[in-house]
């Protein structure tokens, strides 16, 4: 009986075998060019100065044979890198468009000069040009909350307020929230550093509040489960920090989400607004109303009472449809 069951199981395993053969999984067309391969007319369009907020860049040239090409665009300040590759007899807008996005966490900066390297598979010679970014990329289906650039600090800037132990008590010399223009930035020249000590042993150290120019953010009409709160987050590896992110509604609802800051270095954090929980029971209607969101709040908490907590944030942006991806 058991032998029969095993036979049936084996037979079922065999019958359940299926094979996917999606051609897209096996790599782009690969060509190794011959030794007499030549390239003519390599240029950047529409010009070597690109406003990424409004323009896409693309490249032009013709080759002596069909070839596999690769552009590597490297931001000389930001560390952002973008690779555009393809295959063809010529390169033009149809096969080489760059929309201003980046392959790593860093974003191309306004005013930044970028090196463009063009190479062909099998050819030793490489070709170079430059692009100067005149304005940062803009991303569809996003609303930028704050990128911490310009003269945002001292503490209070346009549509932002900072508060807590930074000002209200404790050892303010050990606690601060300030612009950080060291290398710790993913976008632009600055991020914001939260660095404080929980002097009154309440876990809570301080926070920032962001509010729109009008009463509410313009999220009306979006699907609640498709809106994401995104921010770059830098961890110092000391495993001492919690952030509590929240957003408030005009009717009194406060939706919160706590995030533990672990690891070391930058990560891109994406939180779906629908996954926040209502922490202000008794006020508001307890329903997520996107047309009533009137501010975002970020609180810095120590994981252990009485200890130091610190982390950097950069480029807070709300995205629709999916988590933000540079």
């Amino acid at each position: 009986m058991k032998k029969g069951i095993l036979f049936i199981t084996l037979f079922s395993v065999f019958l359940s075998c299926k094979r996917d053969t999606d051609p897209n999984k096996f790599g782009p067309e690969t060509i190794i060019v011959s030794e007499d391969f030549t390239v003519t007319g390599f240029t950047v369009s529409p010009s070597n100065f690109i406003n990424l907020a409004t323009q896409d860049a693309y490249f032009n040239c013709t080759m002596s044979q069909r070839a596999e090409f690769k552009f590597v665009i490297s931001g000389l300040l930001s560390g952002a890198v973008k690779t555009v590759s393809g295959a063809g007899q010529s390169i033009d807008i149809l096969n080489s468009t760059w929309t201003g996005d980046s392959d790593n966490l860093n974003l191309f900066r306004s005013g930044e000069k970028c090196l463009v390297e063009l190479s062909f598979h099998g050819a030793k010679k490489k070709y170079y040009d430059t692009i100067t970014v005149t304005a940062e990329n803009s991303y569809p289906n996003t609303i930028l909350i704050n990128n911490f650039e310009g003269v945002f600090f001292d503490k209070h800037g346009p549509n932002v307020a900072a508060y807590g132990n930074y000002f209200d008590g404790g050892d303010s010399a050990k606690s601060d929230i300030k612009s950080d223009n060291t290398t710790k930035t993913c976008e632009g020249a600055q991020s914001v550093l939260f660095d404080g000590v929980d002097v009154n042993k309440s876990f809570y150290i301080g926070g920032m509040y962001f509010f729109p120019a009008t009463t509410t953010y313009s999220f009306a009409g979006y699907e609640p489960d498709s809106l994401y709160f995104n921010t770059y987050l830098y961890s110092y590896g000391d495993n001492s920090t919690n952030f509590v992110f929240s957003y408030t509604e005009t009717d009194g609802d406060i939706w919160t989400k706590q995030v533990s800051v672990d690891g070391l270095g930058w990560t891109l954090l994406s939180l779906r607004l629908k996954d926040f929980t209502d922490s202000n029971l008794g006020l508001g209607n307890g329903i997520l109303n996107l047309d009533k969101i009137t501010g975002f709040n970020i609180n810095l908490n120590a994981k252990t009472a009485g200890t130091r907590a610190r982390a950097n944030l950069d480029y807070i942006i709300v995205s629709y449809g999916r988590p933000f991806e540079p």
């Binding site: 058991k2 032998k3 095993l6 036979f7 199981t9 084996l10 395993v13 065999f14 359940s16 075998c17 299926k18 094979r19 996917d20 053969t21 999606d22 897209n24 999984k25 096996f26 790599g27 782009p28 067309e29 690969t30 060509i31 190794i32 690769k70 590759s85 598979h121 099998g122 994401y228 987050l233 961890s235 995030v259 533990s260 800051v261 672990d262 690891g263 990560t267 891109l268 954090l269 994406s270 939180l271 779906r272 996954d275 449809g321 999916r322 988590p323 933000f324 991806e325």
Partner: protein
């Protein structure tokens, strides 16, 4: 001394004291090792380089102290405490004491054996398997000693993976029509949730084997690897992979001939959700491996062959993960170019450097270096391969000579980047000759020689022509009682071009990087070994390594290394 060290020492002392009270239920095991190297580097690689190391020395001493407590027949608790210090660094005060292994094992009602804690797990080559990193057959004993240390340090016990979790086994005897049923189950966590967006990851699986008789054996294997959704933010990643295989073995035996038919087959199911990509990638594939073997018993001669077809998208991370990071920088003579770039790990580093090895399971196909094996870089479960393997092995009745040979003729199933398939050939073989037995001497005298040749070919618009040769040889001569002279040589060549697939996190190929080499690596070794008792020895060896790169002569160098080692195991 740190508090943890005090605590650990206290535990050791407590165990020693309690031994008096729990006589015959506590026993100890240990391994002591003193290891030292002295290195010299020379050659064109140091031209115009005044900063990189020309000479270096390294060494450490360690003691693994195993405490096994068995308060009841059905239960054993064991731990291995490790004390390790760098030679010349802080002396005893720089010692680091840590737990190397903690395990509980026993049986339930004498029916189910179990192990909890640090466990070594393995199933079949297509489900849960830790494949060897390169061809090592017929190597010198001098090299085998180095490999054994690297394997021990990285828990590479055979082809098992070291994981943390639980393992259960049971074997039930039946009656006349069904001899025995064996079952095994494992449950391990292979990754702890990290930060906000990396969830816990588990590996679970099991086998059920039915031995109908000595003739027929049937089995089913199942292994799944999955993320614990909810242990991190659910806007991040969620992975799962399942492999189910069926197995059969049929043995037909006469007085002189034993014929074995065997096979394994089954599907894999891959699913990976990455919220930021708005993508849930799913694909299924399958494999089958059907073989036959015949042994002529009077001559100990075995012939075998099999046909396998491993789907291009067959996914089995627990059988396809490579045990070594080929691009990691070695610790010996690690920097070149005025100390600015890491030296690339060579054949000699792969054999001797403990830190190059990997103990984690990766869901994507890892990068590899074709010179060390291009035909099946991910072991038998290498995806996108079909073809035959045939071979033979022979051993005389006294094991004076053992020899083997094997041929692989494989090809891709699905072309990568073109419409032309790669074709792979591998030829390997060698022998071990025990001259001591042959001349009826009580002293050990052995010679070994092995080789492996690989070829990868493809035509079309992206042609590939890549060849490697690896030769292993060794001699061991017992010149005085338990005192051996050890000689060894390895010679590796690689020439031609390959295209290395660059994959995204879904294993989809995004592009191909050129891999063009024309290089030779040579290791020559000579030394002495004194054997105290089994697995315990004192040895001094001199190793000469020559790295010759015909494409870039500036990369050429010679590395001389004196290696001393004392290992005591009890």
């Amino acid at each position: 001394m740190k508090k943890t060290n005090v605590l650990i020492l206290g535990l050791i002392m407590a165990a020693a004291v309690s031994n008096a009270q729990f006589n015959k239920v506590v026993d100890y095991s240990g391994l002591y090792r003193m290891n030292g190297t002295y290195n010299t580097l020379s050659g064109p690689v140091l031209n115009n380089d005044s900063l990189s190391e020309r000479r270096s020395s390294n060494g450490y001493a360690l003691f693994d102290f195993g405490i096994n407590v068995a308060p009841y027949k059905e239960l054993k608790v064991s731990t291995i405490l490790r004390s390790r210090s760098q030679v010349g660094a802080f002396f005893g005060t720089g010692n680091l004491i840590q737990f190397r292994q903690i395990r509980v094992e026993g049986n339930i009602a004498k029916v189910v054996k179990y192990q909890l804690g640090d466990i070594d797990v393995g199933m079949t080559k297509y489900t849960l398997y830790n494949p060897d990193e390169s061809y090592q057959d017929h190597e010198s004993e001098a090299f085998a000693m180095r490999r054994n240390i690297v394997a021990y340090e990285n828990f590479n016990y055979g082809n098992n993976w070291r994981m943390q979790g639980a393992q259960f086994e049971s074997s039930l005897l039946f009656g006349r029509f069904l001899e025995r049923v064996k079952a095994k189950a494992i449950l391990t966590r292979v990754r702890k949730a990290v930060a906000t967006n990396i969830p816990d990851r588990y590996v679970m699986g099991g086998t059920l084997t039915v031995l109908q008789s000595k003739i027929i054996q049937l089995g089913v294997n199942y292994v799944t690897m999955f993320d614990n959704v909810g242990s991190a933010l659910d806007t991040a990643y969620s992975f799962s992979n399942r492999v189910i295989t069926g197995e059969y073995k049929v043995a037909l035996e006469s007085n002189k001939i034993l014929v074995n038919l065997s096979g394994e087959f089954g599907p894999s199911y891959f699913k990976y959700h990455v919220a930021s990509k708005l993508k849930t990638e799913k694909y299924n594939d399958y494999f089958y491996d059907l073989g036959a073997a015949a042994t002529y018993k009077p001559a100990n001669l075995k012939l075998y062959g099999n046909y396998r077809n491993i789907g291009p998208l067959f996914s089995s991370p627990t059988a396809q993960t490579i045990r070594l990071f080929p691009f990691n920088t070695p610790t010996e003579l690690s920097k070149l170019n005025n100390g600015t770039t890491g030296r690339q790990a060579t054949m000699y580093d792969r054999m001797t450097q403990e830190g190059l090895y990997n103990q984690s399971i990766y869901i994507g196909l890892m990068q590899y270096l074709p010179i060390y094996g291009n035909v099946t870089p991910y072991g038998a479960a290498t995806p996108n391969r079909q073809g035959i393997t045939a071979g033979m092995s022979y051993s005389d009745s006294s094991s004076i000579i053992t020899l083997d040979a094997k041929i692989d003729k494989l090809s891709e199933i699905k072309a990568e980047g073109t419409n032309k398939l790669r074709n792979f050939s591998a030829y390997q073989g060698g022998f071990n000759l025990d001259l001591g037995k042959l001349v009826a001497s009580k002293k050990q005298l052995g010679i070994s020689l092995g080789m492996r040749n690989e070829q990868t070919m493809r035509g079309g618009q992206a042609p590939i022509n890549f060849k490697t040769n690896l030769i292993n040889s060794g001699v061991n001569i017992e010149v005085l009682n338990k005192l051996d002279v050890l000689l060894g040589a390895k010679y590796l060549t690689g020439k031609g071009n390959e295209l290395l697939a660059q994959r995204d996190l879904f294993n989809t190929i995004l592009s191909f990087n050129d891999y063009i080499i024309n290089s030779k690596q040579t290791i020559l070794t000579g030394g002495l070994r004194y054997r105290f008792f089994k697995d315990s020895y004192l040895t001094f060896q001199y190793n000469h390594f020559d790295n010759h790169d015909s494409i870039s002569a500036a990369n050429n160098y010679k590395w001389g290394q004196i290696w001393g080692n004392m290992t005591l195991k009890f």
